[in-house]
C-alpha cells in the first residue's frame, strides 16, 4: 500500500468500511435521498413539469456521484448547501429577472393551451335537449370529481380526466352513493367548497366538442358546451354572433377587431413593458416617484437618527466615573432584544388614534392622527425605528470608542484641545472609519425593512386613485408586495420588474460597503 514510511497508510474511510457504523448511516441517508429524488422525478413527470424533472435527474446523478466516488471530497461537504442555495436563492433570483419581462399575473397565469381550454369552459351554456343527471360530488385524493349514472353504468370524472366507467360503485335510484377510492361529499363539505363545485367542468369525452358536465346546485348536472368555437388553423375564437377573436402573441390575449379581449390570456414575454410602465402609466408614475424618494429618505434618516442617538449614549456613558453602567447598558439594549415584529405591533397599538396610550394618556386625550396623516405617519415610522435601532448603534459605537487608543486624547489635551474639539477632530473621524461599513449595512437593511412598514402603517395613508393599494409610507419592497399579493389582480411581472430595481440599488450599496471593508483581500 504505502511505499515510503512518511506516506500515511491508506485506510478506508468510515463510510466505506462495512464494519463501521458510518457505512450504514451513509447507506440509509443515500437510500432516503434516492427514494425522495425518484419520487420527485415520477411526480414531476406526472405533472408534466419538464424543467423540474430535468433538474431533479441532474441533482440526483450528481448527488450519487459525489457521495459514492472516492474523489470529489470537497463536493461531499459543499453539495447540500449548494443545492439549497441553487434552488432557493440563485434560481429564484434568475427567475425574478425572467418574470420581470413577462406579463405573468392574474389573467395571464398559464400556457396558451390551458388558456384556450379555460376560455372555452368559462363561456359555456347548457346544450338544449340534453338530459340532466342526478350528480354526486366526490373527493378523490383531494381532487373534486363528479359521479353520475348513465345507462346503468357509473361514470366518474374530474377536472383533468373525462368521464370513465367505474366498476364496484354503488348507486341507488339513479344516484351514486359509493365509489371505491373516493369519499362522497356531504352537504356541509359541499357548501364549504362551493366555488370549487360550481367551477368544476368534467369533460364528457376526450373531445372538447362533446361538451362537459357542470352543476349549479350540486344535485343535478347538465351538459354544457362552449359558446366559442376555436379554430386551430387560424388560431382564432368565433362566438355565437360571429365576432372573431384573433390570438395576439404580443399581449398573450385573444382580441377582436374592436379591441375586446377574451379572458384569461396566457404568459408571453413583453420586453421592457413592465419597466416603462412605472414611468408611463400616469396613475402609477406619481406614486412610484414619491415612494422611491421616501424609501431613500426613510433609510437615510433611520441610519442618521439611530446612529446619532447611539453615539451620544456611547460617548456619554463611556465614562468610568458613572457607576452602574452595566445595568444601564443592559436596559438600553432592551428595545433591540425585543423581537422587531412584536415591537412594530406594540407601537401600532400605542399610537392608535382613538384608544392608544400615547394619545389617551401621555397627551391627555389628544386625537392626533399618527397613521392617517402622511407626514405624521412618516414621522411615526422614523420615531419607532429610532426606538428599535438606536441600541444596535449604541453597542457598535461603544465597541468602536473603546478601540480608539487613549494616547490620542491625551496628546490632544497636551496640545490644548477642548472636549468638543477632541470629539470632532479625533474621536468622530476615527470612529467613522470603523463604523462606516456597519452604517452602510444598516442603510441596506432599512431600505428593505418590509416588516416595520407593513406592520406599523401597512403603507397607508393610501394614494387615492392609484391602481394598487399603495400609500405614502410604502417603501419599494412593500410596493412590490402590494403589486404581487394585495392588488385585485396579482401582477407578478410588474412586481418582479420592481424587484430588479431593488436588486440594483442593494447591489450598488453593498458594493460601496464592500470597498470599505475590502473583504476581497481577505479571501484571496
Amino acid at each position: 500500500m504505502s511505499s515510503t514510511p512518511t506516506q500515511p497508510p491508506r485506510r478506508l474511510s468510515h463510510a466505506r468500511d462495512i464494519s463501521r457504523p458510518g457505512f450504514y448511516i451513509k447507506l440509509v441517508l443515500m437510500m432516503l435521498v434516492n427514494a425522495l429524488g425518484l419520487y420527485g422525478i415520477l411526480a414531476a413527470y406526472g405533472q408534466r413539469e419538464w424543467g423540474v424533472l430535468a433538474f431533479l435527474v441532474l441533482a440526483l446523478i450528481i448527488a450519487d456521484y459525489v457521495y459514492f466516488s472516492k474523489r470529489a471530497i470537497p463536493g461531499k461537504y459543499l453539495y447540500p448547501g449548494l443545492l439549497f442555495l441553487a434552488v432557493f436563492q440563485i434560481y429564484v433570483m434568475v427567475n425574478t429577472a425572467y418574470v420581470a419581462f413577462t406579463n405573468y399575473g392574474d389573467g395571464h397565469n398559464d400556457s396558451k393551451p390551458s388558456a384556450i381550454t379555460q376560455i372555452m369552459k368559462t363561456s359555456d351554456r347548457r346544450v338544449d335537449g340534453t338530459p340532466t343527471y342526478p350528480v354526486t360530488v366526490l373527493d378523490r385524493d383531494g381532487e373534486m370529481a363528479f359521479a353520475i349514472v348513465d345507462d346503468d353504468r357509473v361514470l366518474v370524472g374530474d377536472a383533468e380526466e373525462p368521464l370513465t366507467e367505474v366498476g364496484d360503485a354503488v348507486a341507488e335510484d339513479g344516484r351514486v352513493t359509493e365509489v371505491p377510492g373516493a369519499t362522497v361529499l356531504q352537504l356541509a363539505e359541499i357548501q364549504q367548497r362551493q366555488n370549487e363545485v360550481l367551477g368544476l367542468r368534467v369533460s364528457m369525452t376526450d373531445d372538447p366538442d362533446d361538451g362537459w358536465l357542470r352543476t349549479d346546485n350540486a344535485a343535478m348536472a347538465y351538459v354544457a358546451k362552449s359558446l366559442l368555437q376555436y379554430d386551430e388553423a387560424s388560431d382564432t375564437f368565433t362566438d355565437a354572433e360571429g365576432t372573431v377573436y384573433t390570438a395576439d402573441p404580443a399581449q398573450g390575449l385573444f382580441v377582436s377587431d374592436s379591441g375586446e379581449a377574451l379572458t384569461p390570456g396566457w404568459r408571453v414575454l413583453v420586453g421592457f413593458d413592465n419597466f416603462t410602465r412605472m414611468f408611463t402609466d400616469s396613475r402609477l408614475a406619481g406614486p412610484f416617484v414619491s415612494i422611491l424618494s421616501w424609501t431613500f429618505a426613510f433609510s437615510i434618516l433611520s441610519v442618521l437618527t439611530t446612529f446619532a442617538l447611539g453615539l451620544i449614549l456611547a460617548v456619554v456613558f463611556n465614562d468610568p466615573r458613572v457607576k452602574g453602567r452595566t445595568i444601564y447598558r443592559a436596559l438600553f439594549i432592551l428595545p433591540y432584544a425585543f423581537p422587531g415584529f412584536l415591537a412594530a405591533l406594540v407601537w401600532r397599538g400605542l399610537l392608535n388614534q382613538e384608544f392608544g396610550f400615547i394619545n389617551e394618556v401621555l397627551l391627555g386625550g389628544a386625537n392626533i392622527p399618527w397613521f392617517s396623516s402622511g407626514i405624521l405617519a412618516k414621522l411615526s415610522i422614523i420615531g419607532v425605528n429610532l426606538w428599535l435601532g438606536f441600541p444596535y448603534m449604541f453597542l457598535v459605537a461603544t465597541g468602536a470608542l473603546q478601540a480608539i487608543p487613549g494616547e490620542l486624547a491625551e496628546a490632544a489635551v497636551m496640545d490644548g484641545a477642548g472636549p468638543w474639539r477632541r470629539f470632532w477632530s479625533i474621536t468622530l473621524p476615527l470612529l467613522l472609519v470603523s463604523v462606516a461599513p456597519l452604517l452602510i449595512a444598516s442603510f441596506a437593511f432599512n431600505f428593505n425593512n418590509f416588516s416595520l412598514i407593513y406592520m406599523l402603517t401597512g403603507g397607508g395613508p393610501n394614494y387615492p386613485g392609484a391602481p394598487l393599494p399603495i400609500g405614502e409610507t410604502d417603501i419599494l419592497i412593500s410596493m412590490v408586495y402590494a403589486m404581487a399579493f394585495e392588488s385585485g389582480t396579482r401582477q407578478y411581472g410588474l412586481a418582479s420588474a420592481m424587484s430588479i430595481i431593488i436588486f440594483v440599488v442593494v447591489g450598488v450599496i453593498s458594493w460601496l460597503g464592500f470597498r470599505q471593508t475590502r473583504k476581497l483581500e481577505e479571501i484571496m
Binding site: Q89, N95, Y328, L345
Partner: protein, 296 residues
C-alpha cells in the same frame, strides 16, 4: 474643598457637589430618562397582558388590575401551535444552517480544488442580496414545488424551512470560513498522518475547535428565522401553520376586533426567549464579531 487622604494613602479624587453634578450626575438623570423611553412600551405590553379581558382602550391604565387569566386563555387559542411552529422551524433552520455552513466552510478552508476561488467570490456576491428580495419568485416556486412534493407545498412548515435553508449558505459561510482559517492546519495534518479520515477530522477535530462560532451562528440564525415575516407570510396559508410572526401580526393589526389583551400576553411569551438569547449574544455584537449583523 480640602482633599481627604484615603485609608490607603491615595488622594481622594472623587468629585463632589456641583462639580459632580456637572460632570457625572447629569449622566445618571439622562440614563434614567433613556431607560423610561426604552422600557415604557415593554411595561405597557406587560400591563396589558395582565389586564383581564382588556381591549386597546382598557389597556391605557397601567397595572390597575393584575391577573394571569390572559395567559390561561392563550392556551385555548392557536397560540401554542404558533409557538411550537416557530420553535420547530427556527430550530431546524438553525441546525441545518450550522451543519451546512460549517461543512462548506471546512471545504473552502481545508481543500484546494478547481473553482474554489470562484466559489468564494460568487458566495461573496450572493451574500449581498438578501434572499427575501426575490419573494415573488419564491412564492411561484413554492406553488410549483407543492404540486410535485405535496409535503413541500404552499402552507407547510417544511417548505418554509427549505426556503430558509436556501439562504443559509450565502449569509453564514464567510463568517465561519474566517473562523475555520484560524484553526491551524497543522492539527489536521497531524491527524491525517495518524490515519484519520477527512470525516473524522471534520466531526472529531475541527467542529470541536470551532464550537463558539457554531453556537453564535446557530443562535443568530434561530433569532433571524424566529422573527422573519415576509416569506412566512406568503408561504403559510392556514392559521394552524402560522409562525409567531404571522400569527401575532394577524392579532395585532386588527385593532377593533382583535383580542388586544391576548396579543399582549402572546407578545410577552414570545419575546422572553429572544430577550434572554440577546442578553447572551450582546458581547459578540460589541466585539465586532457580528459586524453588520442587523437584526430583523
Amino acid at each position: 474643598m480640602a482633599r481627604k487622604i484615603l485609608a490607603n494613602g491615595d488622594n481622594d479624587t472623587r468629585l463632589r457637589g456641583a462639580k459632580w453634578w456637572s460632570q457625572v450626575g447629569w449622566k445618571h438623570v439622562f440614563a434614567i430618562l433613556m431607560i423610561v423611553y426604552c422600557v415604557f412600551p415593554l411595561l405597557y405590553v406587560l400591563s396589558a397582558s395582565l389586564n383581564p379581558g382588556g381591549t386597546l382602550t382598557g389597556s391605557t391604565r397601567l397595572f390597575t388590575t393584575v391577573s394571569g387569566v390572559n395567559f390561561a386563555d392563550l392556551m385555548e387559542t392557536d397560540f401554542p401551535r404558533w409557538m411550537m411552529n416557530s420553535f420547530i422551524v427556527s430550530t431546524v433552520t438553525a441546525v441545518g444552517t450550522v451543519v451546512m455552513g460549517a461543512a462548506a466552510a471546512y471545504a473552502f478552508s481545508r481543500f484546494r480544488f478547481a473553482g474554489r476561488r470562484g466559489g468564494l467570490t460568487a458566495l461573496l456576491i450572493i451574500q449581498m442580496f438578501p434572499q427575501m428580495l426575490a419573494f415573488v419568485a419564491i412564492f411561484l416556486l413554492a406553488l410549483t414545488l407543492g404540486e410535485i412534493f405535496p409535503g413541500l407545498g404552499i402552507g407547510s412548515n417544511l417548505q418554509l424551512i427549505a426556503i430558509y435553508l436556501g439562504g443559509a449558505l450565502g449569509s453564514n459561510t464567510f463568517l465561519m470560513y474566517g473562523f475555520f482559517n484560524t484553526v491551524p492546519a497543522d492539527i489536521d495534518e497531524a491527524a491525517k498522518i495518524d490515519g484519520a479520515t477527512h470525516a473524522q477530522i471534520f466531526w472529531g477535530i475541527i467542529m470541536r475547535l470551532v464550537t463558539p462560532i457554531l453556537a453564535v451562528v446557530g443562535l443568530l440564525s434561530f433569532v433571524a428565522s424566529y422573527g422573519e415575516f415576509i416569506l412566512a407570510r406568503i408561504v403559510l396559508a392556514r392559521p394552524e401553520n402560522y409562525t409567531l410572526a404571522v400569527g401575532m401580526y394577524v392579532w395585532g393589526s386588527d385593532e377593533r376586533n382583535a383580542p388586544w389583551s391576548l396579543f399582549a400576553a402572546g407578545a410577552v411569551v414570545a419575546a422572553v426567549p429572544i430577550i434572554l438569547l440577546f442578553m447572551y449574544l450582546q458581547k459578540y455584537i460589541v466585539g465586532g464579531l457580528l459586524a453588520g449583523g442587523v437584526k430583523g
